[in-house]
């Protein structure tokens, strides 16, 4: 008797926990609300199956506990029932898969007007690069990276000169404008993840990976590294500030471009040589 009751309470407790939990997802701050909806749908269908299976089990425990005088039913197979269950399950699974695939299709197809952002990761930090007025990012190589060229931009690539360089772990984004995150790493795997945006993707050394989202809430968000990257993994944080267009444009104007950096270095070098001559 008590066995059935305890199992029933476990099921009931699970349902109540789900309803009253203070721990639930953060408010979505990007266009990926559809992922939340699919999770909710999966919860309904999956949760329904969980509850049904467990309650059926609990019922059996109450109803068919051992009695010496009773004999169990002898029924090796029931083809019809098995067929019904197979098809019902297949249908349920298809109902879950379809929205999942539809949203994935959106996830892998980036809108044309998305602004590209180069997110560069290393052990253990982030920095960012935006295309300049030409709208294109210059190509890069890991071996080019040094103090004068922190992003490893190929010097003979004309698209690279006006790239905006943000040597900080915080980046600003324009609200309601899609961004394509281009991820690369100079050492090990990383993953640029903002829980409120829902989206994530690994940064893999040697290749450039991508994903996109459209922020739709202004404010500051924390960036977490979501792929284990060594002993500093837990401390590899960054930030995002989503701003309205006006504020964003103001911010963008204050940032340094690659050519600014080169010019500054030239001045520094000239001064050095002047000093040396004196």
């Amino acid at each position: 008797m008590h066995v059935g009751i305890i199992f029933f309470l476990v099921i009931l407790g699970s349902v109540l926990f789900h309803i009253f939990t203070p721990w639930y997802w953060t408010d979505v701050a990007s266009n990926w609300g559809g992922m939340d909806d699919t999770i909710t749908l999966t919860f309904w269908i999956g949760g329904g199956v969980f509850i049904a299976v467990c309650l059926f089990m609990v019922y059996c425990v109450f109803k068919f506990s051992y009695k010496k005088e009773r004999k169990a039913e002898y029924k090796p197979e029931d083809k019809k029932l098995e067929k019904i269950l197979t098809w019902a399950t297949t249908l349920g699974v298809a109902a879950l898969l379809a929205p999942g695939l539809i949203i994935w299709n959106q996830y892998v197809n980036v809108p044309k007007n998305a602004i590209e952002i180069d997110v560069m990761a290393w052990q253990w930090g982030w920095q960012y690069r935006l295309p300049g007025e030409d709208g294109k990012l210059g190509t890069t190589k890991v071996v080019n990276i040094n103090d004068d060229n922190p992003f490893g931009i190929n010097l003979d690539d004309p698209f690279g000169n006006d790239d905006v360089m943000i040597q900080s772990d915080v980046i600003n984004l324009e609200n309601n404008r899609p961004v394509k995150i281009l991820l690369r790493s100079v050492d090990v795997l990383h993953n640029w993840y903002v829980p409120q945006f829902r989206a994530k993707m690994d940064a893999v050394p040697g290749i450039v990976t991508y994903y996109w989202f459209e922020p739709n809430k202004t404010g500051e968000f924390e960036v977490l590294c979501a792929e284990y990257c060594g002993v500093g993994h837990y401390a590899m944080r960054g930030g995002v500030e989503v701003q309205d267009k006006q504020d964003y444009d103001n911010w963008l104007q204050q940032q340094e471009t690659f050519s600014d950096l080169i010019a500054k270095q030239k001045i520094l070098e000239n001064e050095k040589t002047k000093l040396a001559k004196k």
Binding site: L85, D187, G206, A226, Y228
Partner: protein
């Protein structure tokens, strides 16, 4: 040594006439069983303590050896999990806990539990003990190789544990061992630690292949007369199919470990692209980190089923015996095991949706992954339909079965979240994943292991385990483990990433502090509860209630040996002959509520048995 061999019994192939006609004395055509085509197996009987208990060739002893060593290793894994939970629930309480140590414990806990505990225990432990007994063989077909298999495992465990004592300590690269970080400074144990891990895995795979060949060939070639494939207990089907998976999947892990070792030691670049480290470009270039992930998960996903399929098989048998009812839909159960096994090789990249592989793979792997849910769901239905109109003994074994159903269904459904590509995006690399796989391949298989221990202990030791202690053990474990992993899913919803040594005070994470403390406390209790079993075993080995022959009134062969516990060679003078499947429980017209597999039809002529 040579005189030992002289003692070996050689039993000539038995003709069908010699045995037909069993107890009732009236032989009918229905009792006919095809005669044996090959002579009985020669066995090496050990005489000294060493040949009987240490370098032993008896599959049953080897099974127990595997079981004990896997359990010992598992206890180390358990202690590591306590240390992790201490850090997560009560940071800074353990003075020596640095981030390095934390990641080393995470890694060793994961690898130990998945490979050295679960895999070794299900296949090496239960496989060795049960396969020959259940199919009516005298032993595994290659007993010597079987012995070498265990001792390879022993050395593999030794090498693994040795890594705690080498400079730099064990590897802290996560159980997935992803390069490049696994072999670069910045990850603890990137020199010696990862080396020893790879060597240990290679030894394990080599040893496992020896055992695996044994399991496969014993099932295919050494079944007794009348034991058709479709009469085998589902336990054998589960272990057999899991072994096929292991033979195909482990080589991928082996080459992965080997290639990474070459990258590490010889400076090859299988998995290493151009890397900038501390301002210097390393002498690597052109390798692909994602290639390793494909190799790893080509092993890693079937690995889930290498653990799950034996668990499916065993639980089917336990439920059937203790519900006094045949397993519902046996043929469906067999095909589901085989189907899940086959499909499990086409789903591996669902671990890699956000790995940076070509995102178009997502469509394929999400579809295959959700297809696998169908045969898995069928198995669940058949378990609960076996309970339906059964005559359920609510003993400790059945409690573990019920606990398994709840945790497995729970973990299976969260698997549908993670398998469904775009739903996986927000949840991957969070605590939701940890909660999911601990529920479905940690707790659920553990429930099966425990059920199996309480079920087969009377066979192995000849005595029952104490029921009262068993029930305490079950309820503490089940309720405790459920309250660890059920709430943990919600940490994942919040977005708490996994493998974080410390959360700091991210605004949306601080709310989880209370939960982390609660989970840690539950983890300490569940871990401690496992020692109830050890106490129970020690106590009942000497003073437990004697079990006698077939104490659960089961139908399958392992309970029908002439001596309990079965001795070397299992069957005395004559191999058993099988006349039916392993699930003839509560047959209408039968005197008792079970008919053993060896009962010829003429003895139970008045019953309404369906053809099996």
């Amino acid at each position: 040594m040579s005189e030992d061999f002289n003692d070996n019994k050689t039993i000539q192939a038995q003709s069908s006439e010699a045995i037909s006609g069993g107890g009732s004395g009236i032989a009918t055509d229905a009792d006919y069983v095809r005669p044996a085509e090959v002579a009985d197996q020669d066995l090496y009987h050990g005489h000294s303590f060493i040949t009987k208990w240490i370098f032993c060739q008896d599959a049953k002893v080897i099974g127990v050896q595997y079981f004990l060593l896997a359990t010992f290793t598992g206890i180390i894994g358990l202690i590591l999990s306590w240390l992790m939970r201490l850090q997560l629930g009560f940071p800074e309480l353990v003075p020596f806990m640095t981030a390095e140590h934390y990641y080393q414990f995470v890694t060793m806990h994961g690898m130990i539990m998945v490979v050295y505990f679960l895999t070794a225990l299900f296949l090496g432990g239960f496989g060795n003990y049960l396969i020959p007994l259940m199919v009516g063989a005298r032993d595994m077909v290659f007993p010597y190789l079987n012995m070498v298999s265990f001792w390879s495992f022993f050395v593999a465990v030794g090498v693994l544990l040795a890594s705690f004592f080498v400079p730099g300590g064990p590897t802290g690269s996560g159980w997935t061992l992803y390069p490049p970080q696994a072999i670069l400074e910045g990850t603890p144990g990137s020199g010696w630690g990862i080396m020893l891990m790879c060597i240990s895995l290679i030894l394990f795979v080599a040893g496992f292949t020896m055992g695996g060949l044994n399991y496969l060939i014993t099932v295919l070639q050494a079944r007794t007369r009348g034991m058709t494939l479709m009469r085998m207990p589902l336990t054998v089907w589960g272990i057999f199919t899991a072994t096929v998976l292991a033979m195909l999947a482990f080589p991928a892990l082996l080459v992965g470990a080997l290639m990474m070792s070459l990258d590490n030691v010889l400076g090859t670049s299988f998995f290493m692209p151009t890397i900038l480290k501390a301002g210097e470009v390393l002498e690597y270039g052109g390798g692909s980190p994602i290639l390793f992930q494909h190799l790893f998960w080509f092993f890693g996903h079937p690995e889930v089923y290498i653990v799950a399929l034996p668990a499916f098989g065993i639980i089917s048998d336990l439920i059937s015996v203790h519900a006094r009812k045949n397993i519902f839909g046996y043929r469906m159960m067999v095909w589901a095991i085989v189907g899940i096994g086959a499909l499990s090789f086409f789903v591996w990249a669902h671990h890699m949706y956000v790995s940076g592989m070509n995102p178009w793979f997502g469509f394929f792997f999400a579809t295959t992954t959700l297809i696998i849910a169908v045969p898995t769901a069928m198995k669940v239905y058949n378990w609960i339909l076996t309970l339906w109109r059964g005559n359920i003994r609510l003993n400790t074994v059945m409690l573990w079965c019920l606990g398994f159903i709840v945790t497995f269904v729970n973990g299976g459904i969260t698997g549908i979240f993670l398998g469904n590509v775009s739903v996986d995006v927000p949840l991957s690399d969070t605590y939701f994943v940890i909660a999911h796989f601990h529920m479905v391949m940690g707790i659920a298989p553990l429930m099966v292991i425990m059920g199996a221990v309480y079920h087969w202990f009377p066979l192995v030791a000849g005595r029952f385990l104490d029921e009262k202690l068993g029930k305490w053990h079950f309820w503490l474990t089940f309720l405790g483990a459920y309250s660890i992993y059920f709430p943990m899913h919600y940490l994942g919803f919040i977005g708490v990433p996994r493998r974080y040594f410390e959360m700091y005070d991210s605004p949306y994470v601080t709310s989880a502090v209370g939960m982390n403390e609660f989970i840690s406390l539950a983890a300490f209790i569940v871990g401690a509860a496992q020692f109830i079993l050890i106490y129970n075993i020690i106590k009942t080995l000497k003073t437990g209630k004697p079990a006698g022959h077939n104490p659960w009134q089961a139908c399958s062969l392992e309970w029908l040996t002439p001596t309990v516990p079965p001795e070397h060679g299992n069957w005395g003078d004559r191999l058993p002959t099988v006349h039916r499947w392993a699930y003839d429980f509560s047959v209408p017209g039968a005197k008792e509520d079970f008919i053993t597999q060896t009962t010829p039809p003429s003895e139970v002529a008045h019953t309404k048995v369906e053809k099996t």
